[in-house]
Amino acid sequence: MGELAQYLVTGVGLGCAYALTGSGLVVIYRVTRVVNFAQGSFAVLGALTVTTLLAAGLPHGVAEGLGVLLAGLVGVLVGVVATGKPGTTPQAGLIVTLGLGVFAYAVEIFFWGDQPRSFPGLPGAVGGIQTHYLLIIGVTAVVLGATALLFARTDLGRALTATAADPYAARAVGIDVVRMGLFAFAVGGALGGLAGVLITPVQQVSFDSDVALVVSGFSAAILGNLTRPGLTLVGGLLLGVVQALVGGYLSTAYQSEVALIFMLVVLIARAGRRDLVEAA
């Protein structure tokens, strides 16, 4: 029983990282219609920055906070390049973010080299479970809760939702649609950065970890068709737990394939109903 509980907590912890990455994709996609392929790069950049800040002697907490902040700023930059030029279609935006993800490789190798890195998280264990996983779960709950409040209860959040629903009408009532898009990229970047900062103590990060992260995030978000934050959280947790169970009881070799197969199944199952979805 202890073993099962351990796998469950580990899985939920991993799932939180997927849910955060996926939520970043959702926030950006809803407002700008761009599927941000560079979403995994935010996590890698954030995490690598924290390794440097910690090495420079900054205390825990401050370093992590700055890493997330940097990821948010990078998010704005990605947004400017991917959506700033008038007339850029979301399809072109996807290719541009793909390019930016590759550009991030150049930056990351330049500053941090190509070897995997990590930093210590919250030490200790409670009942055989690393305390750090509990930290991941707690922080994710607070942050996703706050994000939901931001969207539901503030004027800024309503403006973002309005832009997502109908950019033209939003502009007509005086909402700066481009600015809202950039704000969405900032939030998406920070969520991605947070995922990286939280997961790195339990899972090393290197410059090319971004592909696995963005694929897992996308798999989580696809359950809600990239537009529903609640289903993204469910998808992320589901993936994390199934991965942990597969890794624990079957073989760690098949762990990362779980997300991929899950994604393909959801996509293909949904494609049958695509015409209905598009018409709606």
């Binding site: 150049a106 592909v211 994604m263 494609a271």
Partner: protein
């Protein structure tokens, strides 16, 4: 534009003789990329689909040739089996995944490639993560292709074959149907274009081109590993196709040549004494990224179609 083709043809015939051995390897790899990119460009330009998994078909072709020739199949048969296997695989996965659009297909193809790589690195029969080693040279009726020069001309032939097939396809009934499909799927379908079948055909043809490139690659290098076909290779193909111009055969060839040459120049610059060890990878990633972004934003049709219109 005629003179451009003439220059390219003369270049392709003369270059292998005058290039230094190291440069000849680059020439061969360029040609192999070009074959895969012609296919990808057809797929992206005519079927309007982003595929981030084209290198999976290169890998399939290479492993097909490699496994067959390790099990003592005649090398020529092993080479021919490469595009066939890749096309068959494309038909099998194409039926479900070609119902997806845009970013969904992009992620689905990416997922398939990662899955294939992890199956290959876990499979005993495929040599696992170490891959296949000690593969024989290609030989045809007692004549063994054991010089780089042989492979250079084989690749030139391969590029020519692939380009001709693509050209025929584009200028056939299928090609016209596909063009109609690209401008308006609903209208094309209403006019009786078998949308699904044509899309599957382009997917299979594009996979076959990549598979043939993989087959030649396997005989040229003599060893294969899952790491030879990373996700980044698929992204490189996309960069080459987009930069040259989607849907344009000449664009695919130019894109492959341009990117390979620029990256090669920068790599030789970056490996000069005194340059830091990370310089080659940093520079090549930066070049892929910046060229891709600049072309998508400022030359959205790609170089060749844009030039063609302004000439």
């Amino acid at each position: 534009m005629k003179w451009a083709y003439a220059v390219a043809a003369v270049g392709a015939l003369v270059l292998p003789v005058v290039l230094a051995p190291g440069q000849l390897t680059v020439f061969i790899l360029l040609g192999l990329s070009a074959m895969a990119v012609v296919g990808l460009s057809l797929l992206m330009g005519y079927a309007g689909q982003v595929s981030l998994g084209q290198a999976a078909f290169t890998a399939l072709g290479a492993y097909t040739s490699g496994l067959l020739s390790l099990h003592h199949a005649p090398p020529l048969l092993a080479l021919v089996a490469a595009p066939v296997a890749a096309a068959l695989a494309a038909v099998v996965v194409g039926v479900p995944i070609l119902r997806l659009r845009g970013h969904q297909l992009a992620f689905a193809t990416l997922a398939l490639q990662i899955l294939l790589l992890s199956v290959l690195s876990g499979a005993q029969w495929a040599g696992g993560a170490v891959g296949l080693q000690g593969l024989p040279y290609l030989s045809v009726g007692g004549f063994e292709l054991d010089q780089d020069l042989d492979y250079a001309y084989l690749v030139v032939g391969g590029v020519l074959l692939v380009s001709l097939i693509a050209h025929r396809l584009v200028h056939s009934r299928v090609g016209r149907g596909l063009r109609a499909l690209a401008t308006g799927e609903m209208a094309a379908e209403a006019s009786g274009v078998p949308v699904g079948a044509y899309r599957l055909l382009v997917f299979a043809v594009s996979a076959a081109f990549a598979g043939l490139a993989g087959g030649i690659y396997c005989f040229f290098l003599g060893y294969l590993a899952p790491g030879s076909f990373p996700v980044l290779l698929s992204i490189e193909y996309v960069v080459m196709a987009v930069v040259g111009g989607l849907g344009s055969i000449a664009g695919a060839l130019l894109g492959a040549a341009l990117i390979t040459v620029v990256v090669q120049l920068l790599t030789s610059l970056a490996t000069q004494p005194g340059m830091p060890s990370y310089a080659p990878s940093v520079l090549s990633y930066a070049v892929y990224a910046l060229l891709l972004i600049a072309v998508v934003l400022f030359v959205p049709k790609g170089i060749v179609p844009t030039l063609r219109r302004s000439l």
